[in-house]
Amino acid sequence: MERIIQYTEALREAADQEMERDASVLVFGLDVDDPKAIQGTTRGLLERYGAERVFGTPLSEDAMTGAAIGMALAGLRPVHVHIRMDFLMLAMNQLVNVAAKSRYMFGGAVHVPMVVRSMIGKSWGQGAQHSQGLYSFFMHVPGLKVVAPTTPYDAKGCLIAAIRDDNPVMFVEHRILHFQKGPVPEAPYSVPPGKARVTAKGDDITLVGISYMQVECQRAHHYLAGEEIGAEVIDPIWLSPLDIDTIVDSVRRTGRLLVVDNGWSTCGASAEIIAQVMEQLQGEREVRVKRMGFAPVTCPTTPNLEDAYYPNARTIAAAAYWMVRASGASWMPEERKDLQSIEFKGPF
């Protein structure tokens, strides 16, 4: 019988199992040891592994990232946690100029096995500075790996893979995915880079949904099925290195690619995926492409603008419909309550 657990618990279990297995794994960051334990993802670790291995830190993102690198250089495997991805902007120097580069610029003499967990906020007015999905920055820089698991299964497997990886891994979570429930094996397992996941089959259009937008794409798949449009849905899971082949193979069949990102489009992951697919399929077949992502503005707090700021299943379905039918006719499905797959209740 499959065990169903929540995304947060999957993360907790992954950390727990890796810490159990390997004394060089440490977890730290603001509030990892506090009563809320980062939505429960670090719950119990302090009690089990002690304050040297699990500790809260001062509000010093820059130095603590540098310290994580130093620990990694000494052979530890630090996991550094941030409750908002926006705060990584304080750590960019260490991430971009040191973590990403140390191995290469020292000619392979060292490596930096560290994991940086950070969360993307959404809903209840998180607003300008608590909602950004800035992972394309990390995709841009050689030497970093980037992963954004969307299911509890992948959350556990990717965190284990990230901890075991000998390189710096940016581990991207989405605050709403934390409420996601799903089957998760109890024994440790790893979901390493290399393989994107086809999460729904279809022949008419390929939807690539990144991070939380994967959920919205799966909902869109159902809306489209109602119109007899077969949408193949792909979850890249690892964004760097990116398994472009799975996407290319799908688009080779469907001829249509809609990338729905949980970030801005300009110079974003969606631009990259489209550019790579075009580079590979040009001359072979005609392809229609489209990007959806955050509106090209700062995230507003008021609910009606916030709704318009994000793609959602219905707007995704509408865009896909338009690409497939190419009729110029616009269509937008009615909201279906049965497609509300993640239950969560704010404010948070």
């Binding site: 603001l30 509030d31 506090d34 009563p35 809320k36 809260g56 830190t57 001062p58 509000l59 010093s60 993102e61 820059d62 130095a63 926006d86 705060f87 902007m89 304080l90 809903s123 209840w124 007015g125 998180q126 607003g127 300008a128 500075q129 608590h130 509106a295 090209p296 503005v297 700062t298 507003p300 707090t301 008021t302 609910p303 009606n304 603008l305 318009a308 700021y309 704010g346 404010p347 948070f348």
Partner: protein, 326 residues
């Protein structure tokens, strides 16, 4: 004791107590009202309440002149109101209405009111400190007779930008006063788990900045000490100044509830602060009938602000794309 307390006429003192009481009471009532409304989910904005800490904003702002400006943190309802920010626009902002201070686009963490000299608040800790310093540079460059106050929490002290900002402010002798609201905690983590020594003032003093720690969350003492710094700068002296104001947050870090059950702190720790509640303390200095009429006026004003905010319109869909660039 600074000069004003030696010479104030009884009338001036009475008026000041009434003003301060009104400000404290008003902030408290506004935030209590927010806490009441919050469970209805009509305020879709993370609220960091200042309940218990009002003394700092009120004491400081009473010492400021209208031309002075303040920069704050995401926990700035008290600062916003104490500095004279528009109550209606503030509540409308919490409700996400187009009549809000940021047209519904900023929420509780991004309060602003240029007319009142509230220059903006930020959700990223420490971030407004250098902004305030830069503003003070402009003030000094233009030889303006005003000054800047930068509010930050004890958590903000941890960030490297704090050291960088104080160093630069001191180097350029800027007309700025730093107010560290030390409520002991950054979220659930006590200062002693973040700092090797509880000596925030020393961290400022190494830059040659005059510093003072003010205990016990006392509105009048805060007012008096900050006033003396404001006067010194007004009279041609140089900044910066630094004050560490010891205070206490009664509610949870974010949200409307108490959180003593979480275990990171005890109600016993809170009790002395609650006994020294500044709304009560200042209320006692105001004559009964004056107090009543202040309270009535404030209650009515608040009721009106909330009612208006509820009925005000949300921004039009077209606002989504507005104001990215000027």
């Amino acid at each position: 004791m600074a000069e004003f307390s030696f010479f104030p006429s009884t009338e001036r003192k009475t008026a000041m107590y009434e003003r301060i009481y009104r400000s404290l009471y008003r902030i408290r009532r506004v935030e209590e009202r927010i806490a009441e409304v919050y469970p209805t989910d009509t305020i879709k904005s993370p609220v960091h309440l200042s309940i218990g800490q009002e003394a700092v904003s009120v004491g400081v702002c009473e010492a400021l002149r209208p031309q002075d400006v303040v920069f704050g943190t995401y926990r700035s309802h008290a600062l916003f109101l104490a500095k004279g920010g528009d109550l209606k626009a503030m509540i409308a902002e919490l409700y996400g209405k187009v009549t809000g201070v940021a047209r519904g686009k900023g929420g509780s963490m991004h309060m602003i009111d240029l007319k009142a000299g509230v220059m903006g608040t930020s959700a990223v800790v420490g971030t407004t400190v250098p902004n305030a310093v830069g503003y003070a540079y402009a003030v000094k460059y233009r030889r303006e007779n005003r000054l800047v106050v930068s509010f930050l929490g004890d958590g903000g002290v941890d960030e490297g930008v704090f050291a960088e900002s104080l160093n630069f402010a001191a180097l350029k002798k800027l007309p700025i006063i730093f107010i560290c609201e030390n409520n002991g905690y950054a979220i659930h983590t006590h200062q002693r788990l973040r700092h090797p020594a509880l000596n925030i003032c020393d961290r400022a003093a190494v830059y040659g900045i005059p510093t003072e720690r003010i205990e016990n969350n006392e509105t009048l003492r805060i007012h008096e000490r900050v006033k003396s710094a404001v006067d010194a700068i007004e009279n041609g002296g140089q900044g910066p100044y630094f004050f560490e104001c010891m205070t206490y947050r009664w509610k949870e870090h974010v949200g409307p509830n108490e959180d003593y059950q979480l275990g990171y702190r005890s109600r016993e720790e809170a009790e002395p602060w609650m006994r020294n509640d500044q709304v009560g303390v200042l209320g006692a200095l105001v004559e009964e009938s004056a107090r009543k009429s202040i309270e009535q006026a404030v209650d009515a004003e608040i009721a009106e602000a909330f009612a208006l905010a509820e009925s005000d319109p949300f921004p039009a869909a077209s606002e989504l794309m507005a104001d990215v660039y000027k």
